[in-house]
């Protein structure tokens, strides 16, 4: 795949936003988007984990799985790497920046099962990105995810005072809002093609 890593970074944020075009990482997106503050915390954690695991999984894929012909185990290995990295990250944050640890708190372990992170690791293999491209794509996707959850949290904050039909309250209206946001993001599509 011949595409400038810098362009890929921006493309991952806007034209092919991991959440709004691929609809990955929806569960935590819907459940933690009630408050802007906590969604920012979660978004930052996702951004960080995505950037690092994209690089890590690229190295493991091309330097361990491919040479030993273990590509069929990529799902398991990627998940193990993500889980271990999240654990390590949690320990590091708890030790050195307690304040951040308390803000992220419960969100960090949640990231292990966030499919956006696993999705990015799979995309970078399928699309044959280089190491630099992978890290850029991971970071861009992370920021894109952060952007999406922040927007939804902001909108949901405003919706609190609005009359919403009972059956649509909560997840229902959030999904509709997400759909409209995704439509808006279609406006960016076609500027860059990443796949």
């Amino acid at each position: 795949m011949d595409i400038n890593a810098f362009i890929l970074f921006w493309a991952a944020i806007f034209t092919s936003n991991i959440l709004l075009t691929n609809f990955l990482g929806m569960c935590s997106y819907l459940s933690i988007s009630r408050e802007v503050e906590s969604s920012f915390g979660l978004g930052m954690a996702v951004f960080f984990v995505l950037t690092v695991t994209a690089g890590l999984n690229w190295v493991i894929y091309y330097h361990i799985l491919v040479p030993f012909d273990l590509i069929y185990l990529q799902f398991i290995v990627f998940i193990i790497v993500i889980a271990a990295f999240v654990q390590l990250l949690e320990m590091l944050i708890e030790r050195f920046t307690p304040a951040l640890y308390y803000t992220l708190g419960i969100f960090l372990p949640l990231i292990t099962v966030n499919c956006a992170i696993f999705g990015v690791s799979l995309f970078l293999v399928i699309r044959k990105y280089s190491f630099i491209q992978s890290v850029a794509y991971g970071a861009g996707s992370g920021i894109g995810w952060l952007l999406a959850i922040l927007m939804l949290a902001g909108i949901r904050n405003r919706l609190k005072e609005k009359m919403i039909p009972q059956g649509l309250q909560g997840a229902g209206i959030s999904l509709i809002v997400t759909g409209i946001m995704a439509l808006a993001f279609i406006g960016f599509s076609g500027i860059v093609i990443v796949q």
């Binding site: 361990i64 030993f68 185990l73 271990a84 390590l88 320990m91 308390y102």
Partner: protein, 367 residues
């Protein structure tokens, strides 16, 4: 073929093993907070290695804060005041604390990690809590699902508790249960006998502790518990008293009555016991016998669903409608309730409606 399978397994194990190793090493270095001091009420100073939860750190030092769920953060019993070093309030604590408790620095001891010097305040009575070893000296069947268990203490040999308090029984690993758990039971015997305690335990289907007591525990078995806990005991006033109990809720009230009969009292007392059918009644003779001991005491069992063949002569229905008849001076009445949370809630509501002061309703609710 065979070699490639082995190789694949080996490499995957190496990758996961390597990651696990990194985590173990990281855990070792990152979780080392050095020596931390816990200052308790400004009176006792404990020095220990940081990194464990406050609840465990204290229990390792023989200070037992009550905890019903074993540190999972689901019961909210291990509340204690953390004045310094507790860090900000965690999302896992918030649902279990009231606004007043949050502003008063009350925290859940099982959720806080000791990472620096900590200053806490706990009620003095907690210092009295110990771990006891004992031997089961008698198991009696009270009803088809309620047993009375008498434990003779071996180490230490005596216990100092107030009538109405509870202990936390520790169940060992048995049958399919792979984890030790602690469950709270009220002491039903007189504190005057400090070498033995009696517990009244109702069988709960699938209950870890009650199944153990009802199906696996035998006379002569070793048993251990911590205690005494709780502030459900008689207030030393001259007000009228009404006791309301259901099921195994009879335990603390029995202890209170035995204690009062020993020290003597002239207070007006009424005791309502709610049950379903005649099969659920127990110790009826013993309770009625107190009517002869006290100047002004009456035991009133109330059945909600007596079977026709039982020929029940007593009261039928729930306990609440009986209140207006028994409580003659609501403003000067203390209520002591023990039973299921649902029963406590409805009884409390009925008492408040009748005019019993809210702060004079004491209860011991078991989930």
């Amino acid at each position: 073929m065979f070699v490639s399978i082995i190789q694949d397994i080996g490499i995957t194990s190496l990758v996961s093993g390597g990651l696990a190793l990194i985590l173990v090493i990281a855990q070792r270095y990152l979780n080392d907070y050095g020596d931390c001091k816990i200052d308790i009420n400004g009176k006792r100073l404990i020095t220990l290695k940081g990194g464990s939860s406050l609840l465990n750190a204290l229990s390792e030092n023989q200070i037992f804060i009550p905890s019903a769920c074993g540190g999972k953060g689901s019961c909210g019993t291990c509340k204690c005041q953390v004045l310094e070093g507790g860090g900000p309030l965690l999302p896992t604590e918030k649902p279990l604390l009231t606004t007043k408790e949050m502003t008063g620095n009350v925290r859940l001891a099982c959720q806080i990690k000791v990472k620096s010097d900590v200053r806490i305040h706990i009620p003095e009575s907690i210092f009295n809590i110990r771990r006891f070893q004992g031997v089961v000296s008698k198991i009696e069947d009270y009803t088809y699902d309620i047993k009375g268990v008498i434990i003779t203490l071996t180490e230490p040999e005596t216990i100092d508790f107030k009538a109405g308090q509870y202990v936390q029984l520790e169940t060992p690993i048995y049958a399919k249960v792979r984890q030790k758990v602690g469950r709270a039971y009220s002491i039903s015997s007189d504190p005057g006998n400090d070498r033995q305690i009696q517990l009244i335990i109702r069988y709960v289907p699938e209950g870890i502790c009650t199944t153990w007591v009802h199906q696996y525990l035998n006379e002569g078995d070793q048993i251990s518990f911590t205690g005494p806990y709780g502030d459900f005991f008689i207030r030393d006033t001259s007000a009228d008293m009404i006791f309301v109990a259901g099921g195994s809720g009879k335990a603390p009230i029995k202890s209170i009555l035995e204690y009062l009969s020993r020290v003597g009292t002239t207070r007006r007392m009424r005791y309502l016991f709610g049950a379903r059918t005649c099969k659920d009644l127990y110790l009826t003779g013993e309770m009625h016998a107190f009517e002869q001991v006290f100047d002004d005491f009456e035991y009133i069992p109330v059945l909600s669903k007596p079977c026709p063949e039982e020929n029940w002569q007593g009261r039928i229905g729930y306990v609440m409608p009986v209140f207006p008849e028994l409580i003659t001076d609501p403003a000067n009445t203390e209520a002591y309730l023990c039973g299921s949370p649902a029963m406590i809630e409805s009884v409390k509501k009925a008492l408040i409606e009748l005019g019993v002061p809210k702060d004079r309703i004491y209860y011991d609710s078991f989930g």
